[in-house]
C-alpha cells in the first residue's frame, strides 16, 4: 500500500494551515474509554434483545396459531435495532461521528440509494411470487406452508427440530 508519495512526512508540518489536521480531538483518555465502554454495553444489550426477539418468533412459530402480524412486528423491531447497532458502530467505533459534517454527508447521502434499491428488488421478488402462485398452481400447492391449506388434513406437528 505504500506509495512513493508518503503523506505522513508533511502532516506535522501543516502548522501553517491549522485547520488541516488529521488528528482526532478525542484524545481525552478517560472520556474516550468511557464512551467505548458505553457503546460496547449498548451493542451487547441490543444484541441480547435481538436474540430474545428471535427466540420469541421461534416460540410463536411453534404455537398453534402463529400470529403473522405479531411476527412481522417483531421482525420490524429487529430491523430497527440492527440499524441502531449499525449507527453506533459507524458513529463511535469508526469515528464518523467525530468527523466534520462534510465528511459525514458524503457517506450518509449515497447510502440513501439503498432505500429505492431495497424497495424495488423486494417488491419485484414479491410480484414474481404472486405471478407464480397465480399461473403455476403446482408451484403454489407444493411450496405453500402447510398451515395454509393442509391444516384440515393433518395436525400441525409441535417439534420442528431437525434430525441428525
Amino acid at each position: 500500500m505504500s506509495t512513493h508519495f508518503d503523506p505522513t512526512k508533511h502532516i506535522s508540518s501543516s502548522a501553517a494551515y491549522p485547520e488541516v489536521s488529521f488528528h482526532h480531538h478525542d484524545t481525552d483518555d478517560a472520556a474516550f474509554k468511557k464512551k467505548v465502554r458505553k457503546t460496547t454495553i449498548l451493542l451487547s444489550v441490543i444484541t441480547i434483545i435481538e436474540l430474545a426477539i428471535g427466540l420469541a418468533i421461534y416460540t410463536i412459530h411453534k404455537g398453534e396459531n402463529p400470529n403473522a402480524l405479531l411476527v412481522l412486528m417483531f421482525k420490524g423491531a429487529v430491523c430497527i435495532l440492527t440499524l441502531a447497532k449499525a449507527y453506533y458502530i459507524v458513529s463511535v467505533f469508526m469515528h464518523l461521528g467525530d468527523e466534520i459534517r462534510n465528511m459525514i454527508m458524503t457517506i450518509v447521502v449515497p447510502l440513501m440509494l439503498f432505500i429505492w434499491f431495497i424497495i424495488a428488488f423486494v417488491a419485484d421478488g414479491n410480484s414474481y411470487k404472486n405471478l407464480r402462485n397465480k399461473y403455476d398452481k403446482h408451484f403454489q400447492e407444493s411450496t405453500m406452508p402447510a398451515d395454509h391449506h393442509k391444516k384440515a388434513e393433518e395436525p400441525k406437528p409441535a417439534d420442528a427440530g431437525g434430525k441428525q
Binding site: 407464480r132 403455476d136 398452481k137 403446482h138 400447492e141 407444493s142 388434513e153
Partner: protein
C-alpha cells in the same frame, strides 16, 4: 481477388488523402497559420450549414422511402394505443428535434469566427434557465401521464371472457396449449417434461384440468378475431420473448416465472392479406430476447380467424392426454379426485409411473 482489389483501393485512397493532408499542413505553415485557420473556419462553418439542410432533406427523404415499410396499422386494440402513444411522442419530439438541430447548426454557422465581432459575455440568465427547465418538465408530465394511462390499460386484468392460450418457448421453437372445454390450463411441473412420454410441457396428468388440454406445436397458433386473448407465457430453457410486431405486443418468456399478456386481435389473417396485398401474409411470433445461436430463426405463426373457423380447427385436435391414456392402468380422473389434496403432485406422478 475482389477483396484484394478493394483493399488496394482503400490503401491507395488513404495514401493520397494522407499526402494531401500533410501538404496542406505545410501550406498552412507557409501561408501563416492564422490565415489558413480562418479559411478552414469558413469552409467548416459553411459545411455545417450544408449538413443541416442536407440532413433535414435526408430526414424527409428517408421517411418517404421507409414509412411504407413499418407494418401499417396495428392489428390489435392495444396496438392502437401503442401507436397513438408513439405518434404523440413523435409529434412532440420532432418539434424539439427540428428546433434544436436548426439552432445548433445555424448558430454555429452564424457565429463563426469573425474579426468584426466579439463574443458576447453571457454567463447565465436564471429566467431563461427556469423557462427551459419548466417547459420540458411540463411536456414530459404530459407524456408520462398518457404513457402510464395506456400502460395500465394494456397491462391491466384481461376481461373475464378472454380465451387463454399458453405459449412456451424453447431453443428454438414455440409450443402452444389450449385449455380445452373446461377453460382451465392444467397444472404442470418442469421435471415431468419428457418428449418420449408425450409430455412436452410437463403436464401433471393427475390434474383433471389437464385431460382436455390441447397441445399444439409445429403449426400456427390460432386466435379468434375480436375476442380478447390472454397468453400465459413460459420458457423451458433460457429467456425468450414473444414478440408480436403486428399486434404491437411483447412479453418475455422466462423459465421459472410465468408471465402474461392480453390483447384483442382486430383483423383476421385474411383481412391482412387483403390489406397488405400480400397473399403470403402471416402474423409472426418473433423471439425478441437473445436465446442462443438459433435466436434469429425462432419463428412462430399466428392465424387470426373467425369463431367458426377456429372451432372447426380446434375440433380436429385431440387432447394430449389421449395420446398417453392407453398406456395407463388406472382411470386417472378418479384417482386424482380421490387423492387427498395434500399430496404433492409430483409424488403422485411418481407413484403413477
Amino acid at each position: 481477388m475482389q477483396t484484394t482489389f478493394i483493399v488496394a483501393i482503400l490503401v491507395l485512397g488513404f495514401l493520397v488523402t494522407f499526402q494531401i493532408a500533410k501538404a496542406s499542413e505545410y501550406v498552412a505553415i507557409l501561408r501563416g497559420e492564422e490565415r489558413s485557420r480562418k479559411q478552414t473556419n469558413k469552409i467548416n462553418g459553411f459545411l455545417l450549414l450544408v449538413f443541416l439542410i442536407a440532413g433535414l432533406i435526408g430526414v424527409y427523404y428517408c421517411n418517404e422511402q421507409l414509412k411504407g415499410k413499418i407494418l401499417g396499422a396495428p392489428a390489435s386494440d392495444h396496438g392502437v394505443l401503442v401507436d397513438r402513444m408513439l405518434y404523440i411522442t413523435l409529434a412532440l419530439t420532432f418539434i424539439v428535434f427540428v428546433i434544436t438541430q436548426v439552432a445548433l447548426f445555424w448558430f454555429s454557422y452564424k457565429y463563426q469566427e469573425s474579426d468584426n465581432r466579439k463574443a458576447y459575455y453571457y454567463p447565465h440568465n436564471n429566467k431563461l434557465e427556469v423557462i427551459w427547465t419548466v417547459i420540458p418538465a411540463i411536456t414530459l408530465t404530459v407524456l408520462v401521464g398518457f404513457g402510464i394511462f395506456y400502460w395500465f390499460k394494456i397491462t391491466g386484468e384481461a376481461p373475464k371472457d378472454a380465451m387463454q392460450v399458453e405459449v412456451v418457448g424453447s431453443q428454438f421453437k414455440w409450443e402452444f396449449r389450449y385449455p380445452g372445454a373446461d377453460k382451465v390450463l392444467g397444472k404442470k411441473y418442469f421435471k415431468e417434461i419428457n418428449d418420449a412420454k408425450n409430455n412436452p410441457l410437463g403436464q401433471l396428468w393427475d390434474d383433471p384440468a389437464n385431460h382436455d388440454d390441447i397441445y399444439v406445436s409445429g403449426e400456427p397458433m390460432h386466435l379468434v378475431v375480436n375476442k380478447p386473448v390472454k397468453l400465459v407465457i413460459g420458457a423451458k430453457d433460457v429467456i425468450h420473448d414473444v414478440g408480436l410486431a403486428h399486434f404491437r405486443m411483447k412479453m418475455d418468456a422466462v423459465p421459472g416465472t410465468p408471465t402474461t399478456m392480453w390483447f384483442t386481435p382486430t383483423k383476421t389473417t385474411a383481412d391482412m392479406k387483403k390489406e397488405t396485398k400480400n397473399p403470403d401474409f402471416v402474423y409472426e411470433i418473433s423471439c425478441d430476447q437473445m436465446c442462443g445461436k438459433g435466436h434469429w430463426s425462432m419463428r412462430g405463426e399466428i392465424i387470426v380467424e373467425t369463431q367458426e373457423e377456429f372451432d372447426a380447427w380446434l375440433a380436429k385436435k385431440d387432447p394430449q392426454y389421449a395420446k398417453i391414456t392407453p398406456a395407463k392402468k388406472v382411470e386417472p380422473a378418479k384417482d386424482s379426485t380421490t387423492a387427498p389434496a395434500v399430496l404433492k403432485d409430483s409424488v403422485i406422478a411418481q407413484v403413477i409411473k
